[in-house]
């Protein structure tokens, strides 16, 4: 995103809307300007329609700026998914796809969330830490698409310094490896310059409980009282073992 200096009247109204706080007021010029290294191309400032002079402009984006945009603007679908947004269908359609089966856990580690943004250098640190344990990165996830090695979690060098609103490291792991994954996640949390939100998606056991939740609690995690429940009304229902 850019601000056309000639048109900007320096009212600062747009500043409040920027989640990356990268719209700065230039005291000498009495106008606002965008720090493009910090701007993630989320488009929120423009969509909020607060600029009365139309000074905010979506510039033509090169490949790297487009990458920022696809990870930051939920209105732009990524080429590896058919749904808008920066993630995948994950457990939302698990009743129909059978993506997470009994004995497996889906793990999503969303870097930059809430509200802080992330560079891919930190995304790579987390991906490489969990890859050591032996996980299967989700094929249709935009972060997996950036990996040069899906066994090690190594991400393309040329994108490592790019900043995005958030990026999700998403994988499937055997339930007996979940403990190691969660310990590695705690460890790598000390080495990143951002925050991340962690979640576990698990097919419920016959007794209506989640074995993944019990493992997390045993390790000292305190799962939120809220969560997402796929209520199993999707059809055709996926039948395990068929």
């Amino acid at each position: 995103m850019i601000i056309e200096k000639e048109i900007c009247i320096g009212c600062k109204r747009c500043q409040l809307y920027c989640p990356m706080e990268c719209i700065n007021y230039n005291e000498n010029q009495r106008k606002c300007e965008i720090d493009l290294d910090e701007c993630v191309e989320c488009g929120i400032c423009l969509r909020s329609n607060v600029c009365t002079t139309d000074a905010l402009k979506q510039q033509e984006l090169d490949e790297m700026r487009k990458l920022r945009q696809t990870f930051s603007n939920p209105l732009i679908p990524h080429k590896t998914t058919s749904v808008p947004g920066r993630g995948t269908e994950e457990m939302k359609t698990n009743d129909v796809t059978g993506r997470f089966r009994r004995g497996h856990v889906g793990v999503a580690i969303e870097l930059g969330r809430p509200g802080t943004g992330t560079r891919f250098i930190d995304v790579e640190k987390v991906a490489m830490a969990v890859a050591l344990i032996g996980v299967t990165f989700e094929m249709f996830n935009p972060v997996t698409d950036l990996m040069v090695n899906k066994a090690t979690g190594k991400i393309k060098d040329d994108v490592l310094n790019e900043k995005v609103l958030s990026a999700i490291v998403e994988f499937d792991v055997d339930i007996d490896k979940l403990e190691k994954v969660l310990l590695a996640t705690k460890q790598v949390a000390n080495n990143v310059d951002t925050v991340f939100s962690v979640d576990l998606a698990c097919r419920l056991d016959q007794d209506n409980t989640s074995p993944a939740e019990s493992i997390a609690k045993k390790l000292g995690f305190e799962p939120y009282i809220t969560g997402k429940t796929n209520v199993g009304l999707g059809r055709p229902l996926f039948k395990e073992g068929e």
């Binding site: 995690f221 429940t229 796929n230």
Partner: protein
């Protein structure tokens, strides 16, 4: 795309916050589902949701409900937000009976949602738990700002804008309802609960900026 997960709050302010949404599996049953999302709309809309939105069009605070209803596509993700469990049960019963074949997900206090499913005669299939926030948590704002920010999983509501709205209420320049609906309009998918936002903003507005930590 865990956009309705990770909602932070207290038991007291989360017990009025439930998102019900519909989605089709793009590789299995999505073809031709656009009209089914309109059926979903007709069911949820009967029960006066406090927010409605489709990821492919937008939310009811930035578009009219009819634009959202008529804009459904095969890759829609259609959301409705409710403030009580009694309504969640009614919606689930209707959805079970309608047998749309779309996957239905409910976000909210897990124990309550489990109970709602039992009452509606539904067996839960898969659950997603949030384990919270790790990493450099010094970068995070105050808890109340986080409670509002995390209602939009795509991070469309800037921390500063939330503080600003609390100040506007404090100065009498906006009502809590106006401020909450303005924040809700930022969340494209329509998953923000403006009733809950208004209550949190009102609490913030009672305090000075330094007291809000």
């Amino acid at each position: 795309m865990t956009h309705t997960l990770h909602r932070r709050g207290t038991y007291e302010n989360l017990k009025n916050d439930y998102v019900i949404f519909a989605i089709a599996a793009q590789t299995v049953n999505a073809k031709g589902t656009a009209p089914l999302f309109q059926d979903f709309y007709n069911i949820v809309n009967k029960y006066d949701p406090v927010n409605i939105g489709d990821m492919v069009t937008g939310n009811m605070y930035s578009l009219s409900k009819s634009v959202i209803e008529n804009g459904t596509k095969d890759n829609s993700i259609f959301h409705a937000v409710f403030t009580d469990v009694e309504t969640v049960v009614k919606v689930l019963k209707d959805l079970k009976e309608a047998n749309l074949g779309l996957s239905i997900v409910v976000s909210g206090i897990l124990k309550h949602v489990d109970k709602c499913c039992s009452e509606a005669g539904i067996q839960r299939h898969t659950v997603e738990n949030s384990l919270g926030i790790l990493g450099n948590t010094k970068k995070l704002p105050t808890e109340k700002v986080l409670q509002i920010n995390t209602m939009c999983g795509h991070g469309m509501i800037a921390f500063n804008l939330i503080e600003y709205m609390a100040e506007m209420i404090k100065m009498g320049k906006k009502t809590a309802k106006e401020a909450a609906e303005e924040l809700a309009s930022q969340c494209h998918c329509g998953i923000v609960n403006p009733v809950r936002v208004a209550a949190i903003l009102e609490e913030m507005a009672k305090l000075s900026v330094t007291e809000r930590d």
